[in-house]
Symmetry: C2
């Protein structure tokens, strides 16, 4: 949206933040850890979630809300990997999810059976940065087939995220991508960023991501988890 | 932006369309072919433009306007490949370029020396679809490291584009990407779409893209072009 629209959007954003606070409170009360997965289109959010559901779904109760501009493709893909409901939100052209959509989607999710809620946002590195969904943290995903300077070009998103996943590392031998520089750029924007290096295709680095998720869930809801 | 903001945005969009019509008229009068390059972040817009400037810059007068949320990185990269001005527009957080920014940028471009204007929009497959910049056509770029279903997931963009570039085809042996299916999905959304298959890294398919650009320029401004 253009800079000229910012004033008009203020009341909408304020209302969004109120709803997000309500969603956050509800999730915290229920002991659910919620992550808002943001990335450009094609960085591999859905593939990462497929693996996570397949490998971690037997240890954790994982609920998923997918946001898509037009199709329910992501939700359909993910449904193959979990017996649980995958809640699809079609934004009908809008470029990000908002907190009201999450609040509505929560109605269909059994929070008492849920340890982890993954929200797959619309593929877009700009707009979702401005919209709090009530998540515990944003996870920004980018891939080695993109430029190393993505953190500098989309600083708001990298500043707001607590976790960064650099995906598709299986393609590193075939692309001119400088991994150290990418991490350096990201840390320049956000020194606190926790990094994971993954390939959803080969499984490389996924165990570290799973261990992180299990630790986060354990911290919120202290009960024994089955080993993976 | 959320669906709730659409009514507020109407006057802004109407104003944008008026400016875009003015820009289009001015470019047509000057015999300049203008393309609006849209894609997700990381699909390779800047690399494609680097090659195009390097290989075609001696035959065509190519002007470039780059839109970036925060940095001038793309403009700086492209400046290395052309003695001409590369006009950078930093949107300051906004998720797309608008026609007023193009109209302002045209003030710095010598239209009488320009055959081809390439506008590199902000990396975003959603928002730029709604904003006419006064271009002759939108060129949508996506890459084989993204999902084949991008056209179905971002139909507005693929419907509005006249040209599609499928980039990074050098990576086809290493990714689970079905090229035929991608083209099929795109044609489902927009049967008129003209396709190019390129690798800005290896140069594969770039000649077809250059021939297309030269033919478009010749059609508008009939004068002899030097062979590449």
């Amino acid at each position: 949206m253009s800079i000229r629209t910012i004033e008009l959007r203020e009341p909408v954003l304020t209302r969004n933040n109120d709803i997000a606070a309500r969603v956050r409170h509800r999730l915290e009360e229920a002991g659910v850890v919620a992550y808002n997965l943001v990335s450009s289109p094609g960085s591999g959010k859905t593939s990462l979630l497929e693996c996570t559901l397949k490998d971690l779904g037997k240890d954790l109760g994982i609920a998923v809300i997918t946001g898509d501009v037009q199709t329910q493709n992501d939700a359909e893909r993910l449904s193959l990997y979990t017996p649980r409901l995958v809640q699809a939100v079609v934004t009908g052209g809008a470029c990000h999810l908002d907190a009201a959509q999450i609040e509505a989607a929560l109605e269909s999710i059994l929070l008492e059976e849920t340890d982890l809620l993954c929200v797959e946002n619309v593929g877009n590195l700009v707009c979702p940065a401005g919209w709090d969904l009530g998540e515990a943290a944003k996870v920004v995903i980018f891939s080695v087939t993109e430029g190393e300077d993505k953190p500098l070009k989309y600083p708001k998103m990298f500043r707001q995220a607590r976790v960064a996943i650099l995906n598709k590392i299986d393609l590193l031998p075939f692309v001119p991508f400088d991994l150290e520089r990418a991490v350096e750029f990201a840390r320049e924007i956000n020194p606190e960023l926790r990094f994971f290096f993954t390939s959803a295709l080969t499984g490389e680095g996924m165990l570290e991501w799973y261990d992180f998720l299990k630790a986060q869930v354990s911290a919120v809801r202290p009960r024994p988890l089955l080993p993976v």
